[in-house]
Every structure is written in structure tokens, then in C-alpha cells.
């Protein structure tokens, strides 16, 4: 029965539609898999077995009434940055250890409406600040391919849970690469949609001009089903955009003849793991073999993306996280002398080191005398980075790059040097600054057997073309079929 959990979303959907399996059976299999794997993997902060079984029963009843749907009865996990009504939502932080969300995020509601079954809340770096999930206040999630390595981050729990078959799909959030980089590290598919494609209502804010919710699954098709369910304008998020959600599967199976693929020369840098470069170059040859027209392109401001990102993201974070004041919800350090001391002690006790570091950096960048030199300067550089992409996309349909410069690194390897950790996101961060859709999918393995990720970036709101390219590549290769050694 546990073999059921190895199904992809579309395989499970077909069996559910044919009534060969029930959602209850599938959900029980996922919960059993969680029970067995969780002591070692630590992907979940909260497992919601009772909620899941009730939702599965409901999904089975909906099927019996004749309802259909790609996600109806499919077990998924939700990153603990996303509010789930009546279920503890911690953002991976001690400051929200007892916070029970009083409402659903729009993406949570949409998944529920689609009949997806929520098996639990997934571990992440505290407030999504990190690239390894080691900044969670609760636990270190292990990479299912090698338990001594990180799953990437910040959506590391989401990536590990999908890769280890604890759920068939998951939601993550991506501010600088937090869906794509862990997807690459764990050998699965993840997409960060165009900024504004998915509602941020009920998503705990890190850096509001960059944050997007992104789905993760074992296959491109599964990922597309999840995005189709959560995309669309939402009256509760004024940054969500009024554009129709296309049928992402419509272009699946089409050849890539005439698709113009740009390869940015700045993304093949010194210090990159040679096997990553080889795998990506080989993947480009596969795309060429499928009919794509490949050319080298330039994104000249790439080297400025990390400084621009960390100034903008930390500035926004310092403002967003001001709300954790120990008054209305969350932790309060009670034995404090006066209001100011209560704020200071509560935040000192509730936030972890990386969150404090980023709040400090952002506060500095916004403080009197430094605003123009840091924050405003970073916003202007953001314009230059956007223009780089606009110029390339005038003559290209997609851009293909590595997702990360290395495969998954060892637990503890980068925790003492913040800058080294930040450099893990060197290939994903520009995509957030420019607000573009970017997807990562497996394109090989290194000698240690660790997955390598290929990033496909599209024009704003052209997730359909990104999916089409990714699907063509996936169908032409076998990487997504490789099983984790047991």
C-alpha cells in the first residue's frame, strides 16, 4: 500500500478518477510514509492526520457525487509560511510557536476547494530566510538523497517531503529562490510564478515586493496542476494581477521547433561545481535536439543581483517583521519593565540569529543617512536587472540556466558564513528581482548521486511556455524517474 505514495499527481489523479483507489487509501498511505520517514527526515513541523483523513473522506464523497478534478483527493503538504485556518502556523519561528491561523490563505482555500488533502505543515527556514532550512527554530530537515546534507531552502521541508513521497505535492514560497533551489537539491520540480500570478493573502510576509507562492511536485505536469489551482487574481491581494489563467497542459507534447532559448554567459561562473555545468550544457543539447534554437545571451548586471536583493529584501523584512511585538499574537516575554523593554526582550527571545541579522541589515539600510546609498541604490539596480531580461526576451522565448551553483551541501557547511550561504541563490535571485516565472527540474546527478537542477525562466505571465519547455525536456530524459536508494 505504501507504494501508492510513489505515484505522481497525474498518475494518482487517473487512478482516483477510475475509482481504482480512494483518496482515503492514498491519504492513509501518505500518513504511513510520514510516520516511517519522519523521525529521520524531519520535513514536517505539524502533521495534520485527522484533518487529512476528514478531507480525504470528503474528497471521496465528492467523487461519488460525480465531481472531478486533477487534485480531488490528492495529499499535499503546505509550507508553514502559509496560513491554514485552525492549524498552527509558525513560519519556522519560536515567535509564532503557538499561533493558530484564524483564517485560510487564499492558496490554502483554493487547494481545499480543488479537493486537495492537507497532510501537514512543512518545515522551512525561519520566516523563509535561508537556503538550507537550517534556520528553522524547530529542526534540521535532511535531504532524502543523503541524510548528511541539507534539502536546500527555504522551502526545504516541502522539497524533502515530496522527494521522499510523504506527500504528492507541496506549496512553498520563493523570495530569492526558496522554491527552485530546494527543488534542485531534492531532485523534484518547482516553479516560482510571475509576481502577481498567485495571491499572497494569508502568506506570512518576508519581502513583499519579491514573495510568491510556488508549487512543487515530482513531475512538470503535477506542478502545472497545482499552479492552475492556486493562480488568479484575488480581491484580497492588490498586487495580484487580473490575467486569465491559461490551460497549462494545452501545450504539453508540442515540439520545441522554433522555441528560442537563451543561455546567459554570466551564469557559468568560476567556482561552480563542474558536474553542474556539464549537466546543464548537456541539457541544452537535449533542448536543441528537440528543435529549440539555442543562442548565448548576456545579462550584464548579474553580479549586482545579490547585493541588490539583500538590501531590498532585508529592508522590506525589517518593516514586515515589526509586527511581532508580543501584543496581539505570538510570543511575549512577560517579565519586562515597560513597553519598550517588552518589545526588545520578546523579539530577542523569539527571533533566531539569521532573522535578527536580516532585520539589523534592513534597518541599517533604511536608517537616516543611508537610505539613498543602500535602499534607493538597490532599487535602481533592480531596474537595470529588469532591463537586462527585457532586452534578452525581445529575441528569446525562454532563458535556461543552472538553478544553483552546487548540489546539496553538507549540514553545517555554510552556517558560519552568511555571505557564502547567500551565494547559493546566485542564479535564482535575479528572477525574483525582475518578477519573472522560473522553474527548476532535474537534469542530472553528480558523482555523489545528488540531483542537479535546470532553471527555465520565462517572460512575465508565460508560465505556459516555461511548462511546455520543461515538459518536453522531462519527457526526453529519465532523470525524474530515478529512485532514492533505500
Amino acid at each position: 500500500m505504501t507504494e501508492l505514495v510513489r505515484l505522481s499527481i497525474e498518475e494518482a489523479g487517473a487512478l482516483l478518477a477510475e475509482r481504482q483507489i480512494s483518496s482515503t487509501e492514498l491519504t492513509q498511505a501518505a500518513l504511513e510514509r510520514i510516520r516511517v520517514a519522519e523521525p529521520e527526515l524531519q520535513s514536517f513541523i505539524t502533521v495534520t492526520a485527522d484533518v487529512a483523513l476528514a478531507q480525504a473522506k470528503d474528497a471521496d464523497a465528492r467523487r461519488a457525487r460525480g465531481e472531478t478534478g486533477a487534485l480531488l483527493g490528492v495529499p499535499v503538504g503546505i509550507k508553514d509560511m502559509i496560513c491554514t485556518k485552525g492549524i498552527r502556523t509558525t513560519a519556522g519561528s519560536k515567535i509564532l510557536e503557538t499561533f493558530v491561523a484564524p483564517y485560510d490563505a487564499t492558496v490554502t482555500r483554493k487547494l481545499r476547494d480543488a479537493g486537495a488533502v492537507c497532510v501537514g505543515k512543512l518545515n522551512c527556514d525561519e520566516f523563509a530566510m535561508g537556503s538550507s532550512t537550517e534556520n528553522s527554530a524547530y529542526q534540521v530537515t535532511r535531504n532524502p538523497w543523503d541524510r548528511q546534507r541539507v534539502p536546500g531552502g527555504s522551502s526545504g521541508g516541502s522539497a524533502a517531503a515530496v522527494a521522499a513521497h510523504q506527500c504528492l505535492g507541496a506549496l512553498g514560497t520563493d523570495t530569492g529562490g526558496s522554491v527552485r533551489q530546494p527543488a534542485a537539491c531534492c531532485g523534484i520540480v518547482g516553479i516560482k510564478p510571475t509576481y502577481g500570478r498567485v495571491s499572497r493573502y494569508g502568506v506570512i510576509a518576508y519581502a513583499s515586493s519579491l514573495d510568491q507562492v510556488g508549487p512543487m511536485a515530482k513531475t512538470v505536469s503535477g506542478c502545472a496542476h497545482l499552479l492552475a489551482a492556486i493562480a488568479g487574481q484575488d480581491a484580497r491581494d492588490s498586487t495580484s494581477v487580473n490575467r486569465p489563467v491559461p490551460d497549462y497542459h494545452a501545450g504539453f507534447g508540442a515540439a520545441l521547433h522554433g522555441v528560442r532559448v537563451g543561455i546567459p554567459r554570466e551564469y557559468f561562473v568560476e567556482g561552480m561545481q563542474p558536474e553542474v555545468e556539464q549537466a546543464v550544457r548537456q541539457a541544452v543539447r537535449v533542448l536543441e535536439g528537440l528543435g529549440a534554437q539555442v543562442s548565448e545571451v548576456s545579462l550584464p548586471h548579474t553580479e549586482y543581483a545579490i547585493p541588490a536583493y539583500y538590501l531590498i529584501a532585508t529592508s522590506e523584512a525589517s518593516s514586515n517583521l515589526a509586527r511581532y511585538d508580543g501584543i496581539k499574537y505570538g510570543l511575549r516575554v512577560a517579565e519586562s519593565d515597560g513597553l519598550l523593554a517588552m518589545y526588545q526582550r520578546t523579539r530577542a527571545a523569539g527571533f533566531g540569529t539569521e532573522v535578527k541579522r536580516r532585520i539589523m541589515l534592513g534597518t541599517y539600510a533604511l536608517s537616516a543617512g543611508y537610505y539613498d546609498a543602500y535602499y534607493l541604490k538597490a532599487q535602481k539596480v533592480r531596474t537595470l536587472i529588469r532591463r537586462d531580461f527585457e532586452q534578452v526576451f525581445a529575441a528569446q522565448d525562454v532563458i535556461v540556466t543552472p538553478t544553483a551553483p552546487t548540489t546539496a551541501f553538507r549540514i553545517g557547511e555554510k552556517t558560519s558564513d552568511p555571505l557564502q550561504m547567500y551565494l547559493s541563490d546566485i542564479f535564482t535571485i535575479s528572477v525574483n528581482l525582475a518578477g519573472l516565472p522560473g522553474l527548476s527540474l532535474p537534469c542530472g546527478f553528480d558523482r555523489a548521486g545528488l540531483p542537479i537542477g535546470l532553471q527555465i525562466v520565462g517572460r512575465p505571465f508565460e508560465e505556459d511556455r516555461v511548462f511546455q519547455t520543461a515538459y518536453a525536456y522531462e519527457q526526453a530524459t529519465e532523470w525524474h524517474r530515478r529512485e532514492i536508494g533505500r
Binding site: G196, S238, A308, L311, K356
Partner: protein, 95 residues
């Protein structure tokens, strides 16, 4: 170059964070190192460049002025660290 510990203390006060002395020392060094790395932005001439605050052109989204959230006072109050019936309790503000 490391920030001064005084600068770190000033920022920590603005950010409402009480830091330990070892955090002060570590942040002085790490923030200085990061800001040094970020100095490379100064090399770019951006005098004629408009800042980007937001990547997508947004049109205001209007809706009727009606309450759409169901009343959930109890759920909201349940998350309060200290309360007195319908009130959030805070430490004394005025002596």
C-alpha cells in the same frame, strides 16, 4: 570593515532588538563584511535610472465597501499572549 559596536546598538534600538554582547560583536563584524560586499553597487552609474519599487503595473482593484470577513473575534483573541476579556493586555505605558 566592521561596523562599530555603537552603530550596532543604535540600529538594534531602532529595530527593537535586545542583543547580547556576543551578538553585538558578531553583527558588527558580519554586517560590516556584507556592506563591504554590497559596496560594489556604488560602481554603477544610476543617476538617470528610475528605482523599481514594484515589478508589475498594477491597476487599483475596487470592490464594494462591505464586510467580507466573518466575525472571528474569539479566534483572534485566542492568539493573544495576555488578555482581559475583550482587551489585549500590555505593560504599563504611563507611570
Amino acid at each position: 570593515m566592521a561596523l562599530s559596536v555603537e552603530a550596532v546598538r543604535r540600529i538594534a534600538l531602532l529595530a527593537r532588538l535586545q542583543l547580547t554582547s556576543s551578538e553585538e560583536t558578531a553583527f558588527a563584524e558580519q554586517l560590516g563584511h556584507l556592506l563591504e560586499h554590497f559596496e560594489r553597487l556604488a560602481a554603477l552609474d544610476t543617476d538617470a535610472v528610475e528605482p523599481t519599487a514594484h515589478v508589475v503595473a498594477m491597476e487599483p482593484l475596487y470592490r464594494d465597501d462591505v464586510v467580507t470577513n466573518p466575525p472571528a473575534e474569539d479566534d483572534l483573541r485566542a492568539n493573544a499572549p495576555a488578555r482581559d476579556e475583550n482587551f489585549f493586555k500590555v505593560p504599563k505605558i504611563i507611570e
